[in-house]
Symmetry: C2
Amino acid sequence: MEKIISEKIRNKAFLDKIVSAEEAASWIQDGMNLGMSGFTLFGEPKEFPRALSERGKKEKFKVNVYTGASLGPAADQAMAEAGIVNLRVPYQANPVMRKKINDGEMYYIDQHLSHMAEEIRKGTLGKIDYAIIEAAAITEDGLIIPTGSVGNSPIFVEKAENVIIEVNLTAPKAYEGIHDIYIQKDQGERGEIPIYNVSDRIGEIGIRVDPDKVRGVILSEQPDIPSPLFEPNEETQAIADHLIDFLNKEVEEGRLPISLAPLQSGVGSVANAVLKNMKDAQFRDVEVHSEVLQDGIFDLIDAGIVKFATGTALSLSKKRVDSLAEDLEKYKDKIMFRPQEISNNPEVIRRLGVISFNTALEVDIYGNVNSTHVSGTHIMNGIGGSGDFARNARITIFVTPSLAKGGKISAIVPFVSHIDHTEHDVDVIITEQGYADLRGLPPVKRAEKIIEIAHPTYRPQLRAYFEEAKAKVGGQTPHILEKAFSFHTNLKEKGTMLFEEEKVK
Amino acid sequence: MEKIISEKIRNKAFLDKIVSAEEAASWIQDGMNLGMSGFTLFGEPKEFPRALSERGKKEKFKVNVYTGASLGPAADQAMAEAGIVNLRVPYQANPVMRKKINDGEMYYIDQHLSHMAEEIRKGTLGKIDYAIIEAAAITEDGLIIPTGSVGNSPIFVEKAENVIIEVNLTAPKAYEGIHDIYIQKDQGERGEIPIYNVSDRIGEIGIRVDPDKVRGVILSEQPDIPSPLFEPNEETQAIADHLIDFLNKEVEEGRLPISLAPLQSGVGSVANAVLKNMKDAQFRDVEVHSEVLQDGIFDLIDAGIVKFATGTALSLSKKRVDSLAEDLEKYKDKIMFRPQEISNNPEVIRRLGVISFNTALEVDIYGNVNSTHVSGTHIMNGIGGSGDFARNARITIFVTPSLAKGGKISAIVPFVSHIDHTEHDVDVIITEQGYADLRGLPPVKRAEKIIEIAHPTYRPQLRAYFEEAKAKVGGQTPHILEKAFSFHTNLKEKGTMLFEEEKVK
């Protein structure tokens, strides 16, 4: 054990700071702002939030929790259950925490993931009292080596008054060397982000920390948390097929080379199906400039299709978590993780000309996209990095099955009940019915294409709305505001968005 | 005359290409894509669109017209009246053209101004058949010196199959040297935009053109077109006061220095009042990194408050148009005009940390902003550069009088009827009632602040909606979708957004 510890904590000054998670948790005071590592369940501290939540069951206090993105059950869920979170920023995905937010029992700010570091710099979320960062190791010269995500850890460490490092003794050694930590200076004092190719290394392998700020080092043996692996079904497979068709057409017509352009893919079942499909597609030497690297990316590296992939975090299934140590060694020169401010930065995304595809919750007839709020009110996860990529990508694609809840909900509606991505930012929409290429089209022509990829059951309703809006109201984006949310109100009243079930069928 | 011509066209190869506007117009064929110079009425070709419109009265053809931004009566209006425009991109502001668009007689795509050049590169708007560019001069080595705007002229010239240059013989000689023409390479092949300070010069003084592509040179003596000068009234004055108060507070609390940060200001009456107010404020050595430079900027340079200002276009009142030649000489080392892709580029805006303020048409209780569509359907002008700045600014401010149409319309509504800027992108909203600083606040707390700056007449209605939504529906952004557009439908039915006029008063 002692040997493992001295291999993991190679700087003596930090060895002297080892404390229990309980002791570290006892330092936290009511109202404090905590900046935690962690993104899509990877790289989060596990012992510290557990101990803090335990304390929260006995003592009354609340903290504000800032992270990279979503934390897992040991952190977001435990803290939510303990009722110790006042404000959560900038992303969450835990059902228990989500319920607390939607029930008004805690606050949540949904934020573009690339913006979070700027907000910390500007101080709009207050100072960071404690940064709590999971580490794979602390090097001889005191660099914190992150684990499976970088997220906002570098800015939290830089700006925090105190730092707690949670060293994960089970973290593979091979984490050392796959991170590229680059911190920007304040606005007005910074230079460019010198990434010109996906694989350009611009920073250090770990996070530099002032040792005097490090108040404690916690030891953990909690493994990384696997994400569910969504096997493609008929629907996601069809969406993936259409996306590959679209990309094939771009190649055929000379707008993209066979290596495409750097890819960003959202997380989840459709993304997974797309990545699976790409194995049999014609693309070669593809680069990935994304936010999260999923199983599928590694499979594509294995298949010789993806040659390099960067992101800010891993999100892996059980199978890949089990082979993580081995995989990190294997893919060491083909993957890299950067702070989310860099992976998601408009400057880099636009310079590289990333092709972006993300999942939509609902889409309206003009191509506005809701990524976050069910019925316009209840948050699901959050906008995440979808806005960072959608606004700045070379081609911005949103995917969604055309139906939800067994056909009771149409993903295509007259007017989305919440807008995260405006018509100005959406190029292509794909459902299992096909793809709508909206590029170069004015709104009324966009509507024609979008209605065509709605589910056939809902097309007549959408068409009727659109025709009535054009005839009675007109304008650049014809709408009948009284009926704009008629699909949603019908769902609320009758349990389905379908107006007259019999008649339409 | 001949002397003037040889001073203006100093490269002999171009002298040989002089043709009449009518002849140049005769080259245009049905279905062609035209890329024209021009932005906020400045720097547009005048003789060519006049001649083309004349031809359109006798002959049936349609063209697609791409520009920097809005053109004036001689271009957008004349072409709209002649019915020769099929598709207009990316911005317009002419009432005649606007009516044609809203009546469905021509198409319009509303686009982020910084995105237009990328769309041209990617070919989503087709190839540019003719670029028609107003020039102050053609230099010995064949550079086109733009006049009062740069807009998208460089990319049009680069990508066009044919170029027509309209040399304006009345254009001040001092235009030569105030432009900074920098063209980006394709995505994936480009470097950074090397602007680290507002005043950094990164390009050439004119637009490089392949002489073989220049099919004709037209001569024009049409002067630049003045914009109306909006004198501050009580309302715009109050908004300006609140904005200065907000900035003062930022300085007092140490978040901004006395030189602020580079400013971007929208165009119009409020912007004008703000700029007027700044003359008496404490700020010094302020830099302006904007899209459009208005009268007020020059007044602030005169007052020693602004030390440098860049944009992509001028927009001047009659008075300033009359003194233009003199002014350009005077301000030569204090102003610079760049392509709109550069002035509005996310990379530059975010690096510099611009403070952005733009006008909203309507704002909802959570801070979503409609900049473009009246009642969600009829386009006013367009999103312009507001999205480029709002998404990437250090502080994003939207201003609007709380009432319109003599009180029949509230600018603050439960749900905006069109969204151009989402809650994620809006930091501060200002009406004549005060400012709502939304930074670091979750949606329900944003709503509290926003309702407070609605007009007192409408506050009870907004409060009632918000309370009912919280009580009956809840969630992260409580809404009652059946009533979300109740203000708008009431306006349509009863001519006012006020539900019960008597009762509320």
